[in-house]
């Protein structure tokens, strides 16, 4: 399903939900007002996670402590969904507002993103190191260091950049969990509040907003990754 058709679907769902509510625009306006906060939280966390993961994962696999940390992070990724990290941090800090809450929410989204990015970068690096083209370049006379810095590392970073194009859904869901658990303003927090209160119209509108956020993140990341992806 192409992105424009999905957007249309999301908009229609929003409008439908709003109409069902009686006051057609109130939920939509509330969600729209809260969406930038969610978008800022999600993109800040995704950017930090992807950057850290690409840096960690694109290091040669070895015995250094940093390499071991990267291996641990990449391996532990599946055990660390954002909602679980957010729950643990929420219970530990008890934060429900203020900077601590924002920071904890950001960290609980950034950590899984970093783990995922590390894993992707590591896999791409290993795959590229084993690929015939890397050996072939060395065999033609390119120094090993040039192959690593000019070929394999950019390939690992490129793989992370490409993977960002499908990170939107996980980030939007994680944002809802983090905002809900830390009581932060945002479309996600609104969604959780509305679902808890059984307000179908507001909850559906917020869900549509979060779906739109997921698609926006995907589209923006794909746009960012393209020049690099096309080169590598």
């Amino acid at each position: 399903m192409p992105i424009p058709a999905l957007f249309l679907f999301v908009l229609l769902a929003t409008a439908g939900a709003a109409l069902a509510e009686g006051d057609p625009w109130a939920p939509a306006l509330r969600v729209a007002a809260q969406l930038p906060a969610s978008a800022a939280l999600a993109t800040a966390a995704l950017a930090a996670g992807a950057w850290t993961g690409a840096r960690l994962g694109a290091r040669p696999v070895g015995t250094s402590p940093l390499s071991a940390a990267a291996g641990l992070l990449a391996g532990a990724g599946p055990a660390l969904p954002a909602f679980l990290v957010a729950a643990v941090l929420a219970a530990l800090t008890g934060a429900t507002a203020g900077w601590t809450a924002w920071l904890a929410a950001w960290a609980s989204l950034a950590l899984p993103a970093a783990a995922q990015a590390t894993r992707i970068a590591r896999e791409a690096l290993t795959e590229r190191l084993d690929a015939p083209e890397s050996f072939g370049a060395m065999a033609r006379g390119l120094p090993a260091e040039a192959v690593l810095s000019g070929r394999t590392r950019p390939a690992a970073v490129g793989a992370v950049a490409r993977a960002l194009g499908s990170a939107g859904a996980a980030m939007a869901a994680g944002t809802a969990a983090a905002e809900g658990l830390f009581g932060l303003p945002g479309a996600g927090g609104l969604f959780v509040e509305a679902a808890r209160a059984g307000e179908a119209g507001l909850a559906l509108t917020a869900l549509a907003g979060l779906a739109g956020l997921a698609l926006l993140i995907d589209a923006a990341a794909a746009g960012l990754a393209r020049p690099d992806g096309a080169r590598r």
Binding site: A87, V88, A169, A195, R196, A200, A211, A214
Partner: protein
């Protein structure tokens, strides 16, 4: 690994799977967890006040939920992918594009939504979790079948006079079993994560004796970091184990 040349490919695949460290660790963890659940149920009967037996009880409920929802989601996803592969052409492509579009949405949010709006009704949570997992299964199914349907041994079977039905039943489906298992398996961690996700937000399975997610949500609401430890650890480990086994299955299917 040296196996006798008359080893059936499936036992051989099992040996290779268990030779992969993460997959073997994942299988061992799952086996240990299931053993502990059975023991806890037999020895402790009703839930006690101790955190670990309570967490094990919650894990049993979570796993049952994940198993049922995962099975349903895998079934829907497999049927969806099989249909797309069987139809091919424009109709098949539309089915695949729909799955791809849906997989890009935060479908897991439908589970807490269903929980909140239905008043924590299992009958609503379960299909919501299943539907959230289905599109990804459909995509993996269709991708696996698309490759397999071009396999030369199917052409060879047709050349030997096999009917379409015989090719499907004797050659295509047996060879698709492992890729389809790998595709369907991914619904399990997704369904488990969906239960944890909605439970942590207080929108999951009903309170009292409930799943890990609900236990986590309750601990967070109480600000009880110690009470969170056991269910969070169990959920994280189970998710990791399911993922590791899934990765191993996928690697075997891609061989």
């Amino acid at each position: 690994m040296n196996l006798p040349p008359d080893t059936h490919p499936w036992p051989a695949a099992w040996r290779r799977l268990t030779a992969r460290t993460p997959a073997a660790a994942g299988l061992a963890l799952l086996a240990a967890l299931l053993g502990a659940l059975v023991l806890a149920a037999a020895l402790l009967g009703d839930a006690t006040r101790d955190p670990l037996p309570r967490a094990l009880d919650a894990a049993r409920i979570s796993l049952s939920f994940a198993f049922l929802a995962g099975l349903l989601g895998a079934g829907i996803g497999l049927a969806w992918g099989l249909l797309a592969a069987a139809l091919g052409g424009t109709a098949g492509r539309r089915l695949v594009e729909t799955a791809r579009g849906l997989a890009a949405l935060p479908l897991v949010l439908a589970v807490p939504l269903a929980g909140g709006l239905s008043g924590h009704d299992k009958a609503m949570l379960l299909p919501a979790a299943a539907l959230a997992a289905a599109p990804a299964v459909a995509l993996a199914t269709q991708a696996a079948l698309r490759g397999l349907m071009r396999a030369e041994f199917l052409t060879a079977a047709r050349a030997s006079g096999a009917t379409g039905r015989e090719v499907l039943l004797h050659h295509l489906l047996p060879n698709a079993a492992l890729p389809l298992l790998a595709a369907g398996w991914s619904a399990l961690p997704r369904a488990l994560a969906a239960e944890g996700f909605s439970g942590a937000l207080g929108l999951g399975l009903p309170g009292g004796r409930a799943g890990l997610g609900t236990a986590i949500g309750a601990a967070v609401a109480r600000g009880d970091a110690a009470g969170l430890l056991a269910p969070a650890l169990l959920l994280g480990l189970t998710l990791w184990a399911l993922g590791a086994v899934g990765d191993g299955l996928r690697a075997e299917a891609d061989r």
